[in-house]
Subunit: 319 residues, 2 copies
């Protein structure tokens, strides 16, 4: 089992993108600033997508301009096409060169308006844009990697095939892939599937570092994360207060990403270091509930952290 | 990993006992009748406790008299003292002879108004009452077995010591203990603690069948349950829609027990048989939300079951 994890916070972007009416820019800035003080190394704030499709993200550049930047913290955004990447490049958000595709044809089409083959064919455009900006392409992302609300479960072979094709495209353009992120976009994974998928990817590409982006849509999020910890995965996305969901995923009102403070708590309770301040994260979850104006899925803010009741000896005894 | 699990549904009792004002008797009966059709083998409906302390349970006998009994289903209730047991014996609820105590002195005192030594000293009274009714005493229960909101974490040695003392009391009275149920009453366990606790109990008492009663207070419920599945535990308590909580546990509004439909879903997705109808359980969760008049913690009813999208081949491939 891994001894430490690195958490990429995606709550501000995941949460804000599904809001209608949109969250005020000042509130997004306040959440980012509070999260910056928790020990997080990277925070995903915005999506560079068309305001026509996601009005809640129209203020992406404005959010990035107004946040207080904590030294050592990377502030990131997502994009689904090269126009989005070009917008991101004009801001000072941190950009990681990556290729990304859905393992599910139907979900990919809904999310990016492209078939799988069209999406694969579009990857060289991304590579050219990264190259022009001097950014190495070292990561591949596979969304809907475990199942899809439209297509059902995704066979493991499709995941490995997708990774292989993205690596091949990178190779053709002289880029070396070192990281793979698997996204359980619609919450289809189970712990056994996590274990087998990680095994298969690692067996075929031992040099790739695996990251997971897990959703808690059907309640299995932390069980899946724990299965991955046992497979020595140490990079995870999660969202404060369990913010998140996907506007193109067929279910409205479903729970979102795994909850940052719950996941970090689980890790710390098992002696796995997160580098995060759990008390401050719980305060951020409360702030998120205030901003979003509703009860959010995270447990720790309701169940209580009881740090004073947890002696260091416990963690020492279990680590 | 176990190939099948047996779930004891505790939602009606866990949920109803914390309601103020109390849930109407007819609604309790409706929930019981719906749950009876899901394949559950046992359903915990009531607590035989003083209406002065838990007014919501004043109709315990009435609930048991009015439900429709499905053949093969056991309908049960809990009690915290011999008066409660005597009340239960006058009804036709299923009664399992058991000895029960809290691993936490403080929680035990709040829950039963007895110190740990007083509670131990009271066990022979229970045995006498069971003997008089012709019911063998074959089970020990340890509540707050992993941690306590008042005392903090519970050392493993206190759990094994508690089990040993209860077994010794049973032995003195000629009763043979075959089952132990460990209750994470306030949601303190983590997967690694689950693993170590089960290991320790099984090493010392290989003949005991272990059952778990897990709460999802701080989000780790299903991760803990999965850890137990890997240790070949096959008996679990859970609550439809994630009902539950404890009136004496220091946190109001915290999430309740692990959710029956989410847990059963996790099992079935991994090829572990539950014998339950997931669609009917999701419908029961919706009924529970209607009865309790609020959103309940369960995920599956919000995230979607998508059974039609899940081919049998998937379960076969993973089983």
């Amino acid at each position: 089992m891994t001894k430490n994890v690195v958490i990429h916070e995606v709550g501000p972007r995941e949460g804000a993108q599904i809001e209608d009416p949109p969250i005020p820019t000042a509130a997004k800035v306040a959440l980012s600033d509070a999260l910056s003080e928790t020990g997080l190394e990277s925070i995903e704030l915005v999506a560079f997508v068309s305001p026509k499709w996601v009005p809640a993200m129209a203020d992406a550049e404005d959010v990035l301009a107004r946040i207080t930047r904590k030294p050592g913290v990377r502030y990131t955004g997502i994009y689904l096409n090269v126009q989005g990447l070009e917008r991101a490049l004009k801001t000072d958000c941190a950009i990681e060169g990556h290729l990304s595709i859905s393992a599910s044809e139907t979900f990919g089409k809904r999310n990016t308006n492209r078939t799988r083959e069209e999406a694969l064919a579009a990857q060289p455009e991304f590579i050219a844009a990264y190259k022009a900006a001097g950014i190495p392409v070292d990561t591949v992302l596979v969304s809907a990697a475990f199942g899809c609300n439209f297509e059902g479960y995704i066979p493991l072979e499709r995941v490995t095939d997708t990774i292989a094709r993205l690596i091949a495209i990178a190779d053709e353009h002289g880029e070396r892939i070192a990281h793979v992120k698997l996204l359980d976009t619609m919450g289809w994974a189970n712990p056994e599937q996590i274990r087998r998928t990680i095994d298969a990817v690692r067996t075929r590409w031992p040099h790739l570092e695996i990251a997971l982006h897990l959703h808690d849509t059907r309640g299995l999020g932390l069980a899946n994360a724990n299965a991955a910890l046992h497979e020595d995965v140490r990079r995870f996305d999660s969202a404060v207060a369990g913010l998140g969901g996907c506007p193109f995923a067929a279910v409205k009102g479903a729970p979102g990403n795994i909850t940052t403070e719950d996941f970090a708590f689980m890790c710390e309770e098992m002696g796995i270091s997160t580098g995060l301040d759990l008390d401050k994260l719980v305060a951020c979850a409360a702030l998120a509930e205030e901003i979003f104006g509703r009860a959010l899925p995270g447990h720790l803010s309701k169940g209580g952290l009881f740090r004073a009741k947890r002696p260091v000896s416990w963690v020492q005894s279990i680590a």
